[in-house]
Amino acid sequence: MLGLDSHTNGKALRSLVGYMPENDAFISKMSGVRFVRYMAEISGLPSAQAMERAHEAFVYVGLGEARYRPVGTYSLGMKQLVKLAQAIAHGPKVLILDEPTNGMDPPARKRLIELIREIREASDISLLLSSHLLRDVEETCDEVLILRNGQIASISNLVEERRANRKFLELETIGAEATFTSALEGLGCECAVFTNGRIKVVMPDGVEIREVFKVAADKGVQIRRMNHRRDSLEDIFLNAMEQTGAADGRI
């Protein structure tokens, strides 16, 4: 990882990693900012810089007002934010977040997801997020690795998946006949016709939706409903779970 061998350069590698564990991980009697400073110093920051970064990290995660309170008195959501603060205070290159939104109410969850996206976009930091909440993964990650019984069940590039989804249309039509689907196929689309005028269309690259409307107008077909199919992460996850074999063996 990062050009370093984990066996021979374990310490050097760990100095580049920020880790936010799933379970409680704090020293309850320490004030929040002192705890984060402590962790930053253990990561190698000199005392003064650790103090500065701890304050900054606290303000950054939105706990500036509570920084002098003992961590043991924080709510569950605040503890999650403290864990994030200690994970980023030393400026890691890789940030590992294990179930980061556990126990958070919707506004706090939204704020944390925004923070994670901001951290990812603001620097060259690599983010590794482990979660059962697929919505969190969809909102923050580019690539997904699904595990089943310790084996890799699926690896997906969400950007590619989203791009592919944009090319998959579900239509509800009135008056569609074979000539309509033939015309679409003439554009390079693949069509599947169902009852009640429902048609599924896979569009090739370079064909825009506008051309589908144009063909419908030419053939006198009414398009009553058009959906981009959302092949969600949940679908990918369920498909991966249904498959019998592992995609790429044990991790």
Binding site: A25, K29, M39, P46, E56, V59, I119
Partner: protein
Amino acid sequence: MAVYKRKYTPYTGSLTPERSRFFVLTRYAFADLFKSRFFVLLLILSLVPSLFFAGYIFIANNKAVQLLLPTGPADMFSVEAGFFTFIMIVQTQAAFLLNCWVGPILIAGDLTNGALPLFLSRPFSRADYVLGKLAVMGLLLSGVTWVPSLLLFTLQAGLAKGDWIWSHMWMVVPIVLCSVIWILMLSLISLAVSAWVKLRIVATGVIFISFFIPAGLGEMSNAIMGTVWGRLLNFSYLFQIILTRGFREPSRLLGTTGWNEIPVPAAWGVLIFVCLLSLVILNARLRARDTVRG
């Protein structure tokens, strides 16, 4: 990541040397300890006997003061190996009490709320962690064992006439060596017990009884089986055997004579075994991974 910018930026400054990083733990631990009034009181009480010993040394070397005493000048004020053996026994017992209180505070707080994975996910090994905590115990217990003992030795050397210092210089070795053995054993036992039971109060109790219950069981077995080997379970007794031999003193302080005394190598063996056992427990309990079941 300046506060006013409220934006994440990586850290690009200098880092502290890895070798000395364990001392961060020591520094924070001392800062926390000295916030506790009870700890400060305990520390002061641990040093009170040394003041009495200093007074004794002063009287022993001052004939004018001895004349003021009802008994007058007498040979009872002898500052020799036996006196320093007694000092060491008192101070090491004070160190034991201090250890019972401080040891669990050092580790239990980290383990109770699962902070250990945070330490070990950084460029910080388990050895660094144990070293950092041992340094706290080492510095603290040194402050109530060999440091005051050496200061008393220096005081006696300064007040005594002639070549007392040169004829007694050999005592520096047992003062330091026996203290180090005792400190190491106490520290490892308290850290191991704290890592094992995790709860501070319970750990304090377990450390306390780990010295008395085995000793009691040993004496029971001695009484039933008519042997002396049960004393191998009495760590304080074993330490005192090593201590009295180190000071070339007969075993009168231990209340035993000749044939029914545990051999010194056996005492060493048990203390080393206890230290190794403590290290094994620490190795088993201080793990970076956190297994979540269910």
